[in-house]
C-alpha cells in the first residue's frame, strides 16, 4: 500500500533524486507535493492567514530573529550539545553514534524551540491567550513555560488517557500557571486533544493563538514549525563536521507529528550522501494493528487541516493509534514527511514498544542518560541502522550516525518502572514502602498550595 521505499532500495532512489534535482530545503508550503494544504473550516482561514502573514514578516525582521536567538541561547540553553555515545555504539554494530541533546533544553525537549517562536508571534499579533494540545505533555509544558515568560494566558488540551500516563507533566503545567483540560472524547489521546483545541480556537480566535506543537496541521503550521526547529539540524551539522571532520552517514529521529525529525533533517536534505531515517511508533507490532505508523501503513487522507498519510478505515474514519509513547500516539504525520517518503529521500520504518524500551534501557545503562520514550524509538532505530550500515565493514567506526535525542525521560519514569516490572501491586516502586516513620507535615501543606493555585485558575 505504501509507496515509500523499503530499507534496501533507498540508496538509488535518493541519489537519483538528488543528482541535479532541485533543493529540498526551505519548502514553503502550502503544498509538499500533493500533501499539505488547508482542509479547514472557513472560520479559521482568516486566522491562518494572519499567522502566515505575521510569520513571513517576522522571518524578515532582524529584531525578531535577534529576539529568538537570544531566547534560544539565554533561556533554552542553545546550542544543545552533540554527545558521542561511545558505550552505546557497541549495541549499534560499532557505528559511532552521536546524540543531539535536545533533552538538555530548558523544559527537557525540542518542543521549546517552536514554542518560543510561536509565542513571540502571538505577542506580535496582539493575542493575549495561547492554547495548545499535548500528548506526552512536553509541548504543553513548553507552552505553559513560554506563556509564563511572555505573560500570556495558557490553556492546554490533553487526552485524559495521556493525563494519566504523564501525570507529572500535568502537575508541571499547573505549577507554571496553565489550565489543563482533560479531553475525554474519542481515543482520549493527542488527536482528540487537537480536535478540542481547534474547537476552542474557532470560538476564541480573536484573542487566541493556537500554538500547534508539531509540524502538521494546516498551512502555515508545517513550514513554520519546521522553521523554528531547523536550528537542531543546523547546529548538528556544524557540530558533527567539527567533531568528525565529515558529514554523518545517517541521521535518525522519531516521528510523532514529525517536528523534531524535520528540524534535524532539514539541514541535511540536500546532502545526498547522508541517509535519513524517520522512526514511527510500531506499538505492539504493525501486524497487530495496534500501532501509530502512519507512513508505513496509512494511506493519504485529510486530518486536522492537512492532506498526509493517515491511519484510517475503509470509511475514512480515523483509526485510533497505539503506542507506549504518548508523544508518538498520533494517527497521521506532518505533510512534508509524506512527501519526503514518497520521493524516497527519507526512509520511514516502524519501531515497536519493546524495541524502544530495550533501547531506552541500553542508553540509561551505557551512557547515564534517561531518554524520553519518544526519543527511544530513534535510538532503537539507530541500533538497527548501525548494524545495517556496518555490516561487512572492516572498520565499523567509520560509520557515523546522528540520533535526535528529542527529550529526556523524567516524565516517563513511571511508565518505564511499570514496563520493567519495578512496581508492586499498589503501584509503588518495590522496596520504597518499608519505612515505619509517620509522614511529616510538609507534604500536606504543599498539596494545599497546589490546590490554591488551581482554584485561582478556574
Amino acid at each position: 500500500m505504501v509507496d515509500a521505499p523499503t530499507a534496501g532500495s533507498e540508496e538509488n532512489v535518493a541519489d537519483a533524486f538528488l543528482q541535479g534535482g532541485p533543493s529540498l530545503r526551505n519548502a514553503s508550503g502550502p503544498y509538499f507535493g500533493s500533501y499539505g494544504g488547508r482542509w479547514m473550516p472557513e472560520s479559521l482561514i482568516a486566522a491562518l492567514d494572519e499567522v502566515q502573514d505575521t510569520f513571513e514578516k517576522a522571518k524578515a525582521d532582524p529584531d525578531f530573529i535577534a529576539q529568538l536567538k537570544d531566547l534560544n541561547k539565554n533561556y533554552s540553553g542553545r546550542p544543545s550539545l552533540l554527545t558521542e555515545a561511545k558505550r552505546f555504539s557497541e549495541h549499534a554494530g560499532g557505528a559511532r553514534i552521536f546524540l543531539k541533546r535536545e533533552d538538555l533544553n530548558h523544559t527537557g525537549s525540542h518542543k521549546i524551540n517552536n514554542v518560543l517562536g510561536q509565542a513571540l508571534l502571538a505577542k506580535r499579533m496582539g493575542k493575549t491567550r495561547v492554547i495548545a494540545e499535548t500528548g506526552a505533555g512536553q509541548h504543553g509544558v513548553a507552552s505553559a513555560t513560554a506563556a509564563a515568560l511572555l505573560g500570556l494566558d495558557c490553556v492546554v488540551y490533553m487526552g485524559a488517557e495521556d493525563c494519566r500516563r504523564q501525570a507529572l507533566n500535568v502537575a508541571r503545567m499547573q505549577l507554571l500557571g496553565a489550565t489543563v483540560v482533560p479531553v475525554t472524547n474519542g481515543s482520549q489521546t493527542l488527536k482528540d486533544a487537537i480536535n478540542d483545541a481547534l474547537r476552542d480556537w474557532v470560538s476564541n480566535v480573536e484573542h487566541t493563538h493556537y500554538l500547534l506543537g508539531t509540524a502538521a496541521g494546516a498551512h502555515p503550521f508545517p513550514a513554520m514549525v519546521r522553521y523554528f526547529h531547523e536550528v537542531i539540524g543546523e547546529e548538528a551539522r556544524s557540530q558533527i563536521l567539527e567533531q568528525t571532520g565529515k558529514l554523518p552517514d545517517a541521521i535518525a529521529a522519531c516521528i510523532g507529528g514529525g517536528s523534531n525529525a524535520i528540524g534535524l533533517f532539514h539541514a541535511f536534505l540536500d546532502d545526498a550522501s547522508v541517509k535519513i531515517y524517520g522512526f514511527e511508533a510500531g506499538g505492539e507490532g504493525v501486524e497487530t494493528g495496534r500501532h501509530a505508523a502512519a507512513i508505513s501503513l496509512g494511506r493519504p487522507g485529510v486530518l486536522h487541516g492537512a492532506r498526509s498519510y493517515l491511519m484510517q478505515d475503509e470509511d475514512g474514519q480515523t483509526i485510533e493509534s497505539h503506542s507506549i509513547s504518548a508523544g508518538l500516539d498520533y494517527p497521521s504525520v506532518g505533510p512534508e514527511h509524506s512527501y519526503l517518503a514518497d520521493i524516497g529521500r527519507v526512509t520511514y520504518e516502524a519501531v515497536t514498544d519493546t524495541e524502544a524500551m530495550d533501547a531506552f534501557s541500553v542508553l540509561c545503562r551505557t551512557e547515564g542518560i534517561i531518554p524520553a520514550i519518544e526519543s527511544s524509538h530513534a535510538l532503537a532505530g539507530a541500533i538497527k541502522i548501525g548494524h545495517r550500515l556496518t555490516e561487512g565493514k572492516e572498520n565499523p567506526s567509520d560509520v557515523t550516525v546522528i540520533v535526535n535525542l528529542s527529550g529526556r525521560g523524567d516524565k516517563d519514569v513511571e511508565t518505564a518502572a511499570a514496563w520493567f516490572n519495578m512496581l508492586d501491586e499498589e503501584g509503588h516502586v518495590k522496596g520504597t514502602t518499608l519505612s515505619t516513620r509517620k509522614p511529616k507535615g510538609p507534604t500536606e501543606r504543599t498539596n494545599e498550595a497546589a490546590v490554591d493555585v488551581n482554584e485561582d485558575q478556574n
Partner: protein, 270 residues
C-alpha cells in the same frame, strides 16, 4: 453562483420564498440512533415544515461540532453506521417527501470513497448536494468537477471572519445556497443569536449570493423569527438532535412544527 441546471436546494428555498417566508433547514445525523430511525426522523422533519434536510455523516473527528452532535455521531458509529448508509438515508427520505436532502460531511470520508464515486451515489440516491464544513473552495477542485458532472449543489460556508475577497470567491464557488455561520464557534445551542450573523448575510448578498441560510446556535422559534427577517433560510441542528435524543421521532416532528412557526409563514399552514 453557477446555476447551469436546476438546483434542488435553490428550488426548495425559492418555493418558501414564493410563500413569502424563509426556508427551514433541519440537520440530523445519519444512523442516529439507527439507520432506520434516522430515515423516520428525516421524514418527520420534512412533514412538519423543513424545506431542506441536512443529513450529517458521523465522523471520528468532527472539529466543527459541539458536545451534543459529537455524542450523537459517536453513538451512530458505535451502533454500526457505515458511510455508504448515508445513501440509504437520503434515498429513504427523498422517496417519502419533496424536501431537498443535502449531505453534510467532513471531507475525509468523501475522499476515501473517491469524490466521483461519492457524488455519483449521492445523485443516484436523490440527494441535492453537499455541505462541506472543512472543505474550502481553495481545496475543492475534485469536488467542482464531480458536482458539475452529477448536478449536485456545493454549499460552502462563510463566516464572520471571512474577508471580502474570500466571501466573494466562496459565493461564486457555491451552488444552491451559501451557508453563513452565525458566530465564531462550533455547533451547539445558544441563548441568543449573535448580531454578526446579519452582517455576514448582508455581505454575502452583496457579493452576489441569491440564497443565504444561517446556521450555528439556532434553537428556538424566536431565533428562527429573528433570522428569517434577513436570511433566505434558517438552519437548526443541535436542538433537533437533542429532541431526537430525548423524545424520539415524535419530538423531532413537534420541534420542527414549533420552529417553522417562526418563519413568518401564512398562519393557516399548520
Amino acid at each position: 453562483m453557477t446555476e447551469e441546471f436546476a438546483s434542488k436546494s435553490a428550488a426548495a428555498i425559492d418555493r418558501a420564498k414564493a410563500e413569502g417566508r424563509a426556508a427551514l433547514v433541519g440537520y440530523l445525523p445519519a444512523g442516529y440512533p439507527t439507520v432506520q430511525e434516522s430515515i423516520e426522523a428525516g421524514i418527520a422533519l420534512a412533514r412538519n415544515g423543513a424545506d431542506l434536510i441536512e443529513i450529517g455523516i458521523p465522523y471520528s473527528d468532527p472539529v466543527m461540532d459541539g458536545p451534543v452532535i459529537q455524542a450523537a455521531t459517536t453513538e451512530a458509529i458505535s451502533n454500526g453506521f457505515r458511510v455508504a448508509n448515508v445513501f440509504d438515508v437520503v434515498a429513504g427520505i427523498t422517496a417519502a417527501t419533496d424536501s431537498a436532502v443535502l449531505v453534510m460531511t467532513y471531507w475525509n470520508p468523501v475522499m476515501r470513497m473517491g469524490v466521483d464515486e461519492f457524488a455519483r451515489r449521492l445523485a443516484e440516491a436523490g440527494g441535492a448536494g453537499l455541505i462541506t464544513p472543512d472543505l474550502v473552495p481553495d481545496e475543492a477542485h475534485e469536488w467542482f468537477e464531480a458536482s458539475d458532472r452529477y448536478g449536485l449543489d456545493r454549499v460552502f460556508l462563510v463566516a464572520p471572519s471571512s474577508t471580502p475577497e474570500r466571501l466573494d470567491m466562496t459565493v461564486k464557488a457555491s451552488r444552491g445556497f451559501v451557508y453563513a455561520v452565525s458566530i465564531m464557534g462550533v455547533t451547539g445551542t445558544r441563548t441568543s443569536v449573535s448580531s454578526t450573523a446579519e452582517d455576514v448575510v448582508a455581505r454575502a448578498h452583496a457579493a452576489g449570493a441569491e440564497r443565504v441560510c444561517v446556521g450555528l446556535g439556532v434553537s428556538n422559534p424566536d431565533h428562527v423569527r429573528e433570522i428569517a427577517a434577513y436570511a433566505d433560510g434558517v438552519i437548526v441542528g443541535t436542538a433537533l438532535v437533542a429532541a431526537l435524543r430525548d423524545g424520539g421521532v415524535d419530538a423531532v416532528g413537534q420541534l420542527t412544527k414549533n420552529l417553522s412557526a417562526g418563519l413568518g409563514r401564512a398562519a393557516a399552514e399548520a
